[in-house]
């Protein structure tokens, strides 16, 4: 199939937008931690841009999109071998799924997804990870967990794709996948010292709002870019993405207002993100007012979900489980009801559009498979690293803060006072 410059332009722009989401996420999270941990949080996200970029080019892409059968790719494309060739065709991307963009553009676009996915769980384990241990977990998880799951769901050669499970932009691959891993990590590393008794207010909500703004912006590349072209489907996905975020913001604020008496800015930002998460699997399969319904439900459900950590006593510090895991579940499951083939003929109809329960079942299989695989492997990885390198900072390092203890830096030095001396 011919390369289309318009489609390519949109996917290149989308790749840039998705890359920008990782700094966005970093600030969304960093604003919520205490000032002594702001750099630790930023670093845990930025390092993903470094480490995973390299791993993706070396092996990740090949394991995710190589021609290795239904369950995992292979090593044909290590170091991005061959994919730059003009006549190169990516396994499975033929007929209906034929690419109209350079495979290199597709590989770069997918790289940005690989980068941000594990960055998501840094919010759950905020303020207490040992940098070295985190780094090892990050790299291994990306290769052993992310690439296979991406293969299952995104590659036309993957078993979940072939089974008929739908995931337009990563409800399972990104959000459920990272969300369950986050829960596992939280259980393995344990609570922050002093949680929940001690007050741990966000140190800079403006940074969090900035991050949320960048996320909303970048998510257009994430979801609408997944149309892999500049067409009506991409336009629908972009519209759906924004409407879901809008409705989710309103939903979250409404419950918040009813329960707590106030509509908060943190709630507005959190609700928007919840809606963006939930619409991710649905973006290119639903239309009309469905995105608003899905978003609104996600806003309400995620707000209620984050209260569970207090009931069950797990310290999902910045609510990655409550927002990404639960939001991903909401979207992936609701898609079984709202999917509409008049929006996308390559999809299937959900229950509300005469499709019966088949799609819903396939969605549940995809969700279940991701939960089990990612949950189990993440647990093994976390336990092994905990027992060897160590996954958690020492108690006094935690008291001192990650910025000084892990990175020998401080986030802010506003004082006029020259209370430092140069020693080297």
């Amino acid at each position: 199939m011919e390369i289309d410059t318009g489609n390519t332009a949109w996917v290149l722009a989308s790749a840039a937008l998705v890359l920008f989401m990782t700094p966005g996420l970093a600030f969304f999270y960093a604003g919520m931690v205490r000032s002594k941990n702001v750099l630790g949080m930023l670093m845990q996200n930025y390092i993903a841009m470094g480490l995973i970029g390299v791993l993706w080019a070396l092996v990740g892409f090949s394991l995710a999109f190589g021609d290795g059968g239904k369950y995992i790719g292979n090593f044909d494309f290590v170091g991005l071998k061959d994919i730059a060739k003009a006549d190169f065709i990516l396994p499975g991307y033929v007929d209906d799924f034929a690419l109209t963009i350079p495979v290199m553009a597709f590989a770069a676009y997918q790289m940005m997804f690989a980068i941000i996915t594990p960055a998501l769980f840094t919010g759950a384990t905020a303020d207490r990870l040992k940098f070295r241990g985190y780094l090892v977990f990050l790299g291994l998880w990306s290769v052993i967990v992310y690439s296979p799951v991406a293969h299952w769901v995104f590659s036309p050669t993957g078993w979940l794709f072939q089974r008929g499970a739908l995931d337009f932009a990563g409800g399972t691959v990104v959000h459920i996948n990272a969300g369950i891993a986050a829960l596992v990590l939280v259980l393995v590393v344990g609570k922050r010292k002093g949680w929940p008794g001690e007050a741990m207010p966000p140190h800079s909500l403006p940074l969090t709002l900035l991050g949320a703004g960048i996320l909303w912006f970048g998510w257009f590349g994430f979801n609408a870019g997944s149309a892999l072209g500049a067409n009506g489907l991409a336009a629908q996905a972009l519209m759906n993405t924004s409407l879901a975020a809008s409705a989710a913001m309103l939903g979250w604020l409404l419950v918040e207002r009813i329960k707590g008496g106030h509509a908060t800015t943190l709630g507005a930002a959190s609700g928007a993100v919840a809606g963006l998460v939930a619409i991710t699997p649905c973006a290119g399969f639903v239309g009309g007012v469905a995105p608003m319904i899905i978003g609104f439900i996600a806003g309400v459900v995620c707000f209620l979900a984050i209260q569970l950590k207090f009931k069950f006593g797990y310290d999902d510090s910045l609510d990655v489980v409550g927002v990404h895991l639960v939001g991903g579940l909401v979207g992936s499951i609701l898609l079984g009801f709202f999917a509409d083939t008049t929006v996308n003929s390559l999809g299937f109809d959900g229950m509300f559009f005469g499709g019966g329960s088949d799609l819903l079942m396939d969605q549940l299989v995809a969700v279940g498979a991701t939960l089990v695989y990612s949950g189990v492997i993440s647990l093994v990885l976390a336990l092994v690293i905990k027992a060897t390198i160590g996954l958690r900072a020492d108690p006094d390092e935690e008291d001192e803060g990650l910025d000084i203890s892990q990175h020998a830096e401080q986030g802010y030095a506003m004082a006029a006072a020259g209370s430092m001396g140069r020693i080297g």
Binding site: P196, A199, P201, G260, H262, T264, F303, I306, Q307
Partner: protein, 112 residues
């Protein structure tokens, strides 16, 4: 020599400063502080977790003054800082045994 210390509401600083200037006070030192007292603080909510904040922002003034000036200055501060709402703050004074102006080494009342 005495040291007058006053805890006032931040937005009253300007009034107090002018009042003292009018009485010929040449200098003072000010710090941002947090006050706890009868004046109640506020509550904050983050993702449903509710916090009580007991401290309210205040400004702390220090004025070195000659013994004879203390009463006038204290009265001036009290008058200028008063809003008659809870939380107006306190003024107190303590003895100072010596003062030096760093620039000149002048001592005692010449130092201020």
């Amino acid at each position: 020599m005495k040291l007058i210390t006053a805890i006032i509401k931040p937005f009253k600083l300007d009034d107090v400063k002018s009042a003292l200037k009018d009485l010929g006070v040449a200098g003072m030192t000010v710090a941002e502080v947090q006050g706890f007292g009868r004046q109640r603080g506020h509550t904050e909510v983050y993702r449903g977790a509710e916090y009580q904040v007991d401290f309210v922002p205040k400004v702390r003034l220090e004025i070195l003054a000659e013994d004879g000036d203390v009463e006038r200055l204290v009265d001036a501060i009290t008058a200028a800082a008063r809003t008659e709402k809870i939380g107006d703050g306190k003024v107190w004074w303590t003895p100072v045994e010596g003062v030096v102006r760093i620039r000149t080494g002048e001592k005692g009342q010449d130092a201020i």
